[in-house]
Symmetry: C2
Subunit: 355 residues, 2 copies
């Protein structure tokens, strides 16, 4: 193990003092051309990076970080994102972070707008954004860009912005995977249903749309597009939904696979369970409390997940690096793994998420 090199070593090698090295490291100027060259030379040779934790204790600065996502409910998707963020806060407790959450209602653009306004008002040092409304988010990002406030995206990426990094999933791939799973999980001549959940004020999320496209393309590529049916049900009226779903299944008895492009699978699972329908394989997204129940009793065949905790964790970690190393690099897009969870591997997906 080569022992860790320190600022003092760099200074000695470059024939200057630690103060000068520090000025270069944080480009605070007031360094002669000569010293700059010498130090940069040594820095490049050694690949030196100062320690982020030591730096943090020395630095008295506190960082204000604003986090804005749809309302985070424990055990649901955005709750998991928050858990990951909290985990990172904890892990980096030596860095003084003031994190403020600005939750908005993902079905109410006004609530989003007001959250974003609050963020701009408090002028934080960095922002984590879990976006829903495209143009609102673009407007926020433009302001942040103007103020040189770094931000990262979790869950989804909004075009026309310049985040430090993004942590999301390839939703199109999710859809393809969903198609593949449903196809292989069901008998030869099965037909399939895309179930859309309806909700008042529900502008179709772009994630769902990308998933749906991937799903359809999977079957299209197999020449099976005519085996896909589509219907919708209401999130808010269970009785009506049940009637609708049952009659839909009645009319299409060859349907053996049901897909839903969001986390609402548990609503369909309730219907299947209540009516003792066992021969249909239902696949949903997100390891939420409700869906876990379905996996356990077999009403949900599989769940696809996108590591929301990991996204939150890394989002904050990325911002910390940005704030402390302060180097403007190109945007890094991180595409998270898509986990397939069935009854047999469910118990082992609870505890772990870090790195």
């Amino acid at each position: 193990m080569a022992k860790q090199i320190k600022i003092k070593d760099i200074a000695a090698m470059a024939g200057v003092s630690v103060g000068t090295v520090d000025r270069v490291l944080h480009n605070r100027g007031n360094v002669s051309e000569r010293s700059l060259k010498a130090i940069e030379q040594v820095l490049a040779e050694t690949g030196y990076k100062y320690n982020i934790h030591t730096s943090a204790i020395s630095l008295k600065k506190e960082y204000n970080i604003a986090i804005t996502t749809p309302i985070a409910v424990k055990g649901e998707y955005w709750g998991a994102v928050r858990d990951g963020i909290m985990h990172a806060i904890n892990e980096y407790s030596d860095i003084k972070l003031n994190c403020t959450f600005f939750f908005y209602n993902q079905f109410d653009i006004y609530s989003c707008r007001s959250s974003f306004e609050s963020i701009l008002e408090q002028s934080p040092d960095a922002v984590i954004i879990g976006p829903t409304f495209k143009s609102e988010t673009q407007r926020l990002c433009k302001e942040l860009d103007d103020k040189h406030i770094p931000y990262v995206f979790v869950d989804a990426v909004i075009e026309g912005t310049s985040p430090v990094s993004t942590y999301s999933t390839d939703q199109y791939a999710c859809g393809q995977l969903l198609g593949r799973m449903l196809d292989t999980f069901t008998p030869e001549d099965s037909e399939f249903a895309i179930m859309s959940s309806q909700r008042i004020g529900n502008e179709r999320s772009s994630n769902s749309l990308a998933r749906k496209k991937g799903f359809q393309d999977y079957f299209r590529s197999k020449g099976m597009q005519n085996r896909i049916h589509e219907t919708s049900f209401s999130v808010l009226d269970p009785a009506e939904s049940e009637r609708k779903v049952l009659s839909f299944l009645n009319e299409n008895p060859k349907i053996k696979g049901m897909a839903i492009m969001n986390s609402r699978g548990y609503i369909l699972a309730d219907i299947l369970r209540k009516n003792g329908i066992k021969e249909i394989c239902l696949i949903s997204f997100d390891l939420t409390q409700n869906n876990i129940k379905g996996i356990k009793d077999g009403t949900i065949g599989a769940i696809l997940c996108q590591r929301p905790e990991l996204q939150g964790f890394h989002a904050l970690k990325s911002l910390i690096r940005q704030l402390l190393y302060n180097q403007k690099e190109e945007t890094v897009n991180h595409t998270m793994p898509i986990d397939i969870i069935v009854r047999e591997n469910l118990p082992y997906y609870r505890e772990f998420f870090e790195m």
Copy 2:
């Protein structure tokens, strides 16, 4: 955000000096009953934990960590474990670690014995063990226990030892999952094959045995145990293996699913590919370079993985905590998630593992 509490705060609250608090924190003794009580009281109330990084810079101590696993080849299982360990070393670069790897040949008990002897000779401060040979490992652990050297297990747990923590997978559950996947991936009346890889000097690994049991129990619980066939092939003689596998498949034409309890699936994939056999679903373990190839071209239907990088990462992290906080707690067993990887989600499993 409640601001981070410091030793000085604890000292003030308990009405003593920081020196005394430090003595209590590291139970170095020489503290009056009175002070001890007061400090412990405050410590409990505040839930204070000193910062591990700040502690490390102050501490001049270097830690020698010995790591012993089967030979780590890049792109294979133990290579991934090593990657995770290296990642952790990097993440905790402020803590002075001298990590020495003691690789052994997992098919040669003498090489294992000699590695373990070297470890005991150098008397490290902590050890990471990726075990293979049970009694050898037990002997090593007994010595380590005597010397009060903490150790953790990765990949598998050896009974009769007392590690700080363990990072492994429920192999029985892996087997059950494998059964489930093969069952749902194949047509109704399929039969299945357990393929055992033979190798000279190969004492059956306990991981493989547990997986096999889980696999068999899955089909037993479904009353399908009579649909399972079993055969073996040689790792070292491809031509002979090919002949053997082909004639086996010829004799059992209803076999549509093939299971192997280790990472050698790629050998079977080669045979399937070479002979244009497409209707058989093969499932193997571990995301190795060779297996990835099979997933990509469809000769392998799915791979089950156990996050080797994460195991290595956490193993080292756990030891660091143990060394710096030095509290003897009960052994914590961490059971890793079992990932299901198919062609559609393969590309997203390369980069991420941390936390």
